[in-house]
Homo-oligomer: 195 residues x 4
DNA sequence: TATGAATGAGCCTTCATTCAT
DNA sequence: TATGAATGAAGGCTCATTCAT
């Protein structure tokens, strides 16, 4: 047992499994009912006692943050994977479509984070870090696409983020019909192109 | 001596005033802090007792719905006002911009309404009515704009509603800078145009 | 309803009764089991719902503080009542005996206040105010008694407070036998006299 | 091959070491933060796992008791060491001062022990034994001091115990200033002398 | 009708205790 | 024996809703 806890030892296998189950349960339940869903419900879905949830995530905010950051990281990886694609425009729009698809849940997490709640301030810190990585990856994609003439030159990364979230919201509103979802996505994508 | 027993008798004038104050307070507070703001806070802002709020709106959900329906009616009126404008395309896009502007609140109301709650059935009825009126008014605007060639012909009213909500969400995400808001709105509007 | 809540209107009679019942219940239960007793138990003893306790005392600390401050005020009144007594020494020792008697409960409140708990910081503020009044009243008593030669001149008010609390603790420890309690009290009183 | 099955077999040396570490940690932490400090914290300070604490002390109360009994034993030894001192009065007051000094901790342990809890019956047995030894040792000191005329003849051992605890409480209340602590101790000591 | 005190289910969190590893 | 993850009963507090005044 080292004097300082600097390197938290790897979790025991059963603990790892529980941690994963809790994250999965939280992802599902937050997606379905928003992050105001109760921790108790998440514990029930993960089939663990409430204390176990709090052992892994000392705070409800920490749990929300973990789920949210996980999602950001996944999207970031996809942006990175497309960074070297041959056609910059195609890469950008492929990323946009995929990111929107993955954000389409009943409640986007951003909605969930109530700035008024001081407990959520810490959440934003972590999210900001993960978000910065994502922004960097997106910036690469965006700049290349703009240089190639595929995207309006006045658009910023912040614009793209906002439009991704907004488009996800629109799809959520419109319902699951694939044709409709394609149509809506194409509207925003067209708007982003140089005209 | 009420005029007829069948219809809900008109409220006494002070009751009417209270109802209006409560709605106004709810609008402000829901817009600022989302629909999870407490009913107490709304009562306080309206300067009435909590019991009065529940006398006018038997349920918190009913209050949320009333605010939402009110907003729908306001937007409907604007659509109606633009129905006879000389330039159909201009009318449509003016409506779109205005509607988005008015929907830009921190938390959209739709998020607040829990479909699973049986107490919300009656609520949805009212909203549905208001929503149908809005759809009709929007349909007029949309069809004229499409006939004039200003808007993509494959777009439906549902698409426009979804995009309005999504765009409002994007603006909320992007923050208050007017130039940014214009840029984002123009992206979606451009995407809606025939290209 | 005044715009500013500066003067909280007098409570409705039933609310007053409940407030008094809660305070009485808290006094009993804190005295018997210490201030770590649960708010729920106090509510039960007062025969009100838990929410009612929190309506009257927004925090558990506020409840502890109210009980504690009430006790301080009672003792302060007694000190004030004895301030003009003809024999200063007699007055001082009568006060000391009475104050000790009233503090003899299984758990003194001071024990209760956990400095480590940040929620208790506010408690100390109020207590300090009530305590300052008490100190003033005690100071009068003490100085007169010292001038009359009845009490050791090097004793301070702080000493008297500490000895009161300590003596109460000793009596609590010794049990309820009156002769024993008198003996213990007389030991400390004798020690305070000029010898 | 244990010596006899009837007596609890001696602990393995590492277990002995752990037991001692836990007791030391508990002593420190209970002294600093009172007996409501969490068992986890004690385990952490002792650098053992929580399960180890519960293997050695089946209950938190048992741990509190062990610390308490240890303290009683330490004080008993001091009383015994002074039993044959040449000046009986000096010996008694030296013991009193030292015992008070050692009891000056933020929370007295007696407070922590809940008499109502049936799990505490066994605990009290041990404490009672240690307490009886202490009383015997103190009795020797006290009777000698009374015979020599240094202490009031009506005082009992129970009185002395109560006053020790009460004085410790007074010192705790008064704060750490040495002059103040001396003054308070001298007040009680003077009160105990024959006058 | 309006008032606002009372109710109590539910939420997040802590911690003594148990038990699989 | 030691470990530390899991358990689950409380505890403090909030807030939608009810009801006596």
């Amino acid at each position: 047992m080292p004097p300082t806890e600097s390197a938290p030892r790897p979790l025991r296998s059963d603990a790892q499994r529980n941690r994963a189950r809790i994250l999965a349960a939280a992802e599902e339940i937050f997606a379905a009912r928003g992050p105001s869903a109760s921790t108790e419900d998440i514990a029930r879905r993960a089939d663990v006692a409430i204390g176990t949830v709090f052992r892994h995530f000392p705070t409800k905010a920490a749990l929300v943050e973990a789920v949210f950051a996980g999602r950001l990281r996944a999207i970031t990886e996809q942006a990175a994977a497309l960074a070297g694609a041959p056609d910059p425009g195609e890469a950008f729009f492929a990323f946009f479509a995929e990111a929107v698809r993955q954000s389409t849940v009943k409640h986007t997490f951003v909605d969930a984070i109530d700035d008024a709640d001081p407990a959520m301030v810490a959440v934003w810190a972590v999210v900001a870090t993960a978000g910065a990585d994502l922004r960097d990856a997106m910036d690469t994609l965006l700049v290349r696409a703009q240089r190639s003439g595929a995207v309006r030159p006045d658009i910023t990364v912040g614009d793209v983020v906002a439009l991704m979230i907004g488009t996800a919201r629109a799809l959520e509103q419109a319902g699951p019909d694939p044709a409709t979802q394609d149509r809506l996505r194409s509207v925003v994508a067209d708007g982003l192109r140089r005209h």
